[in-house]
Chain length 254, copies 4
């Protein structure tokens, strides 16, 4: 139907680690439309693994040729923006850079679609203002709610489901939810995904890993590939009920 | 089907104001199974309208006889517990009383079903511990997430959807969501309700008012009766998708 | 000097445990003017030590006769209010009961001075409104800031020093700070105490314990008696600089 | 005395507006040692006044020659770092850039003292890690607590006084407090300043304005020059009590 809206799932590993990890991943999801993976990681501690960085670009170029996906990746600064410019199709700006207006301006100049994550405790006014710094038409910008900080120690963040609703009602932007960072707990990802769909979100950003136990970063929140399969099947059934069409593989395009 | 679980909606006005309001309400929802309405209001300011209190008991008794509903109402202290004991079927304990362990103990002794709301910034450990003070079997206790306080000024509270998921995964209690207090904004109630269902909640607690503009308390978050109708229709369709059966009227019982 | 204002320190153990603990305490502080100690404890878990309760009343009566102090203790409900009525001189209402308006009304009727603690995430408007439920002249009511919940895991709470200033500037109530609960960490108690004095607070509520390692509750935040001595000496010197006179022993009265 | 520690006050207008404003300011404080003023402003909305930017450099160069102060100013990105490099003596990095690790690395390379503000809801671990990205010896880095976000609407932020104490006890960095942003309210600046000194902070960052009513940004929190004078006199007396020597003018140097 023509008036049906898409519901997108963008997924992939928090950090791209090596060729083997990529091949394992695409064996399971060969037709993925949008592949998300980190080459540059912004880590709280400068001692942590910071990603393959520039060394991963060739790896990705080859993978794109072979599997035909579009690549979504985070730029963490000007250097990474310059390095990734030729290989990324959707530019992700992370929570820590939401207030980095200079970077937002530079990102906007490339005129590619932008996925902007909400800063840890940003007000919605600040979030919307940050999107305006990108200076692109609203259909090119996706706002991503990724959890706010709270006093509750049982999970890393609280998905601000009210924010999803508010942003859908008051802005023209697409609104995604990141249930992986929004909870920090694998077992909460599926119910949070369903809630996001039901609340009116336009899509999800999800971390998966072929082998979550051995992930170099954020393992506890990554879905195993089989769980991701299950979630896709689940959402496939749910989407039509909410007037949505699930879109995640190149085949679901037409 | 036997393995289908109920999804309950409990609704009614924040405060019961007079006979006319009640009759207007039951003209629209004559078969309501569970009617929720406040006789005792716990108001931040002692100058605010505190409910009909004891004066409303006869009103309610007569209405129960006529319409056959079960009555859910908040006890705010020992006096109200004593006064309402004969007329309430489900005892609601509000957010401000979640730490009132003496009241929780007394409420438990009546052995009626209890609906316990989470305090403004209670941790889940505190919430669960409060439920234990009631000393009733888990199937008699419903925990109600009603929004946590945040720094965001656009809405009164943030529904902690993570909490709903966590409580369903880790406890035996039924878990409800109150989207009215959880947002303080009428236009967010429907999407929050859908999100609650999708996240795995067992039911909703919703404020309605025949004429929200003139409500003596919490008008801006109350649904008009026609909106409530719409929401019920909406949920009627959604429930089966989540393996639930909507239960709100006496007819939906069998 | 007549225009000098008092700065009060109220201290004692979180929970009164036995005669030995009391005697040990009063050997070090025989002239204490206001002694604070818990007989009824409001514990998150119903399995935790809940205080000596009524069994401690005689103990306290005897101690009062012998040492001449005034007793400050928390009432947690109506029962404890009835039991403690004859032995307490200042009625403490804890954070968990700040919204317990019925209890506040009953407390007010005794016309004794009241120490009201701020609920975990109460707004100042709610705090002030709760004080009004007590219905006593402002000079009989002391508001106690005891820390708000935050996302920071390094300490249990954050002393809202802005609140202390705001309440002093906008209300007629005395304002105290509880640095013990306000941090949950012994080593932060002294600097927090100095900051409270400097910000304009009228006094402190501090937990001490003859042997913090073996305390039945809240050990990690209790000061050893020697540390308390040190803090008193410290504040004795600081008070005059802020136009205050330290008041903690019966000798500092005249 | 040699074992006395300095307590520094850095102050000036939020935004440097024009020559007249500067001259007015230095007429009142001709011997200021450290002058803080914004040339680049990071504004939530891209429509707001963003500072004189590069156009203000000559103005500042001339003022420095005439009055001999050292200049503290915020760099908001690489461009401003390049433009201000020749004129700033202490590099301020604002709350919005605390996670901008690339900028922190570049700032560190200049080997000038750095004043790093805490992000809106940064944990202390993140704050300390950000300081490590600067890669300078601890004596060259000052951490500035500027208030955390809370649910309380009466003030813009809450000064996390616990953080000041924790950072002094656990790190080697100097720790400042910004009572202007920490409250957003002029009348709270003096008591917050006293509390910061008493808690163990090493200094203050304060906004003043010759005519707060007409300030182009953040007027409601700026002190009038006469109030600043008063605060200095106040702190002059208090510092020795805390083993500190107030340092703010070139004369207080020797």
């Amino acid at each position: 139907m023509t008036d049906e809206q898409d519901f997108n799932i963008i997924f992939g590993p928090c950090a791209i680690e090596n060729l083997r990890q990529l091949e394992h991943f695409f064996k399971t999801f060969p037709d993925l439309e949008l592949f998300r993976g980190g080459l540059y990681k912004m880590r709280t501690s400068k001692a942590d693994f910071q990603g393959l960085r520039g060394d991963g670009v060739d790896l990705l170029m080859n993978a794109k040729k072979r599997y035909g996906f579009k690549f979504v990746s985070e730029v963490v600064d000007f250097e990474s923006l310059a390095v990734l410019e030729g290989v990324i199709d959707v530019i992700q700006v992370g929570a820590r850079n939401m207030y980095n207006y200079e970077l937002l301006r530079a990102v906007g100049k490339l005129e590619k679609p932008v996925l902007l994550k909400r800063a840890f405790s940003a007000t919605l006014k600040e979030f919307i203002n940050a999107a305006e710094y990108i200076s692109l038409p609203p259909e090119k910008i996706t706002l991503c709610e990724r959890g706010i900080r709270s006093f509750e120690p049982s999970y890393r963040n609280v998905v601000d489901i009210n924010a999803v609703i508010f942003l859908k009602q008051r802005t023209q932007y697409k609104v995604f939810v990141d249930p992986s960072h929004g909870s920090g707990a694998r077992e909460m990802v599926s119910p949070l995904s369903r809630a996001a769909l039901a609340a009116g979100a336009d899509g999800l950003l999800i971390e998966v890993h072929p082998d979550p136990q051995s992930a170099l970063s954020d393992g506890p929140q990554a879905l195993a590939l089989s769980d991701m399969h299950q979630l896709i099947n689940d959402l496939e059934k749910l989407c039509p009920v909410f007037g949505r069409k699930l879109k995640w593989s190149q085949k679901s395009k037409e």
